[in-house]
């Protein structure tokens, strides 16, 4: 199934929109993603055998064909792309040159890239590894843990990549565990009692690495879906929880400082807003914003869907048929863009001209 993908430049002063030309093509889109950065500069779009990097004016920076099937791709704010394919990861420079490849005889769990470091979590042999590489010289830091019972691994790193959050599900007892890393130094491990089941895509780190948002759910008869913010010193706050059902996966937007956190879950039209204080780790509930229709449910436990501009003024959420740009100050939907794709995340980057 092919999708027509047309990036749009939207003018927030008059809400006019411009299709970006000449880049428009039918692609078997897998994902649209952007760097985790205070001022993200690129959009990365990829399909099975090609990835495309756009800058914040919608211009094609790189269109790269590859000879293998792309599983997951991530981009940093220098336009470097980390591609995960099977048991191999490859790092490409902004001009498409291959800088590094790594292959293991095991299973890669997740990858993340910052401007200076990238991270890989994988199982091989008897061990589970968390490895970081410095991009400038490929110096490596690595932790190895016994691999038994570690599932549903998720990494999210800061803009530089200096800090990384590892979330994983530990089989018994059913703990949801998060670990903050820096250069292979484990800053802390935290098991949160009976809050089960992280999943790839369940966390998002503040660009400076001071905080991370992560989600999961209580299992079984006490099923609850929840979101938490964790600080680099291990202090955490549960900011939201609700009865878990199949439609309770989130679309989340955060500003660059995480003082504004907003989310909507599938089968709901209500954007829930929190004003978060990183100093006290407390939050205040703000008035919700209502969409004209219910939001689309993101995949299980992920919070990768949804987006917000770094200044917190605008949020992107999607329904099954539309992308909405919401003015978070006025609390109203300002733009609705019809889409023909379901089951895919969308991202936006600010453009200052």
């Amino acid at each position: 199934m092919a999708f027509q993908i047309t990036p749009k430049l939207i003018n927030v002063y008059d809400w006019s929109e411009y299709d970006i030309k000449p880049w428009t093509q039918d692609v078997l889109l897998k994902e649209i993603t952007r760097p985790n950065a205070e001022l993200p500069r690129y959009l990365l779009l990829y399909k099975d055998n090609e990835f495309v990097v756009l800058d914040n004016l919608g211009q094609v920076v790189l269109k790269k064909q590859v000879s293998y099937t792309i599983g997951v791709a991530r981009i940093n704010n220098n336009g470097q792309v980390l591609v995960w394919s099977g048991n191999t990861i490859r790092l490409y420079d902004i001009n498409g040159e291959l800088l590094f490849s790594k292959t293991i005889n095991g299973e890669i769990d997740d990858v993340e890239i910052g401007n200076e470091y990238f991270w890989i979590a994988f199982h091989a042999g008897d061990y589970f590894y968390v490895t970081s590489y410095r991009i400038s010289d490929f110096t490596k830091w690595e932790h190895a843990m016994i691999n038994a019972d570690i599932y549903y691994v998720d990494l999210s790193c800061s803009e530089s990549g200096y800090y990384c959050l590892l979330a994983y599900h530990y089989e018994y007892p059913a703990y949801h565990i998060v670990v903050y890393y820096s250069f292979g130094a484990r800053l802390f491990s935290k098991g949160i009692y009976w809050r089960d089941r992280s999943y790839r895509g369940c966390s998002r780190m503040r660009p400076d690495g001071a905080l991370a948002l992560f989600g999961g759910y209580y299992p079984y008869e006490y099923a609850r879906s929840w979101l938490a913010v964790i600080r680099r010193d291990g202090v955490h706050t549960i900011i939201y929880e609700r009865w878990y059902s199949g439609d309770s996966r989130y679309q989340v937007g955060t500003n660059a400082s995480f003082t504004s956190i907003a989310f909507v879950h599938g089968a709901s039209n209500t954007i829930i807003r929190k004003e978060f204080d990183p100093n006290t780790m407390g939050y205040v509930d703000l008035d919700p914003i209502y969409l004209p229709e219910n939001a689309e449910a993101s995949p299980y436990y992920t919070i990768e869907w949804g987006d917000m501009t770094p200044d917190g003024y605008y949020m992107l959420v999607q329904s099954p048929s539309k992308i909405y740009i919401v003015d978070m100050v006025e609390g109203v939907v300002k733009k609705a863009i019809t889409k023909g794709i379901t089951g895919r995340p969308f991202k936006m980057i600010p453009s200052y001209v």
């Binding site: 048991n87 293991i104 005889n105 042999g125 008897d126 490929f138 016994i146 935290k190 098991g191 009692y193």
Partner: protein, 84 residues
């Protein structure tokens, strides 16, 4: 019965001590490596292959020392040398 609680605890998941890693290097490699073919040669070990095109070097890390037969094959096909 599942206990509902906000209780938290720091889990003590000890990091396991790995045995020493063994490193082998092949130089003057001009193309992306056929990693899976290299991995097929090596048995019963954790393997990491790192390739840096700019310096044309492959680093092969293994959790156990290569057998004589494995080392011979990798040396003949790709020029791997053990780093002592």
């Amino acid at each position: 019965m599942i206990k509902m609680s906000e209780e938290e605890e720091i889990l003590k998941i000890e990091e396991m001590k790995r045995g020493p890693d063994y490193l082998y290097i092949a130089e003057n490699i001009n193309e992306d490596i056929e990693a899976d073919k290299i991995i097929e040669i090596i048995k019963d070990k954790s393997i990491t292959l790192e390739y840096i095109p700019q310096i044309k070097v492959i680093f092969l890390w293994t959790s156990k020392e290569l057998s004589e037969d494995e080392y011979k094959q990798l040396k003949e096909k790709y020029g791997f040398e053990k780093v002592e």
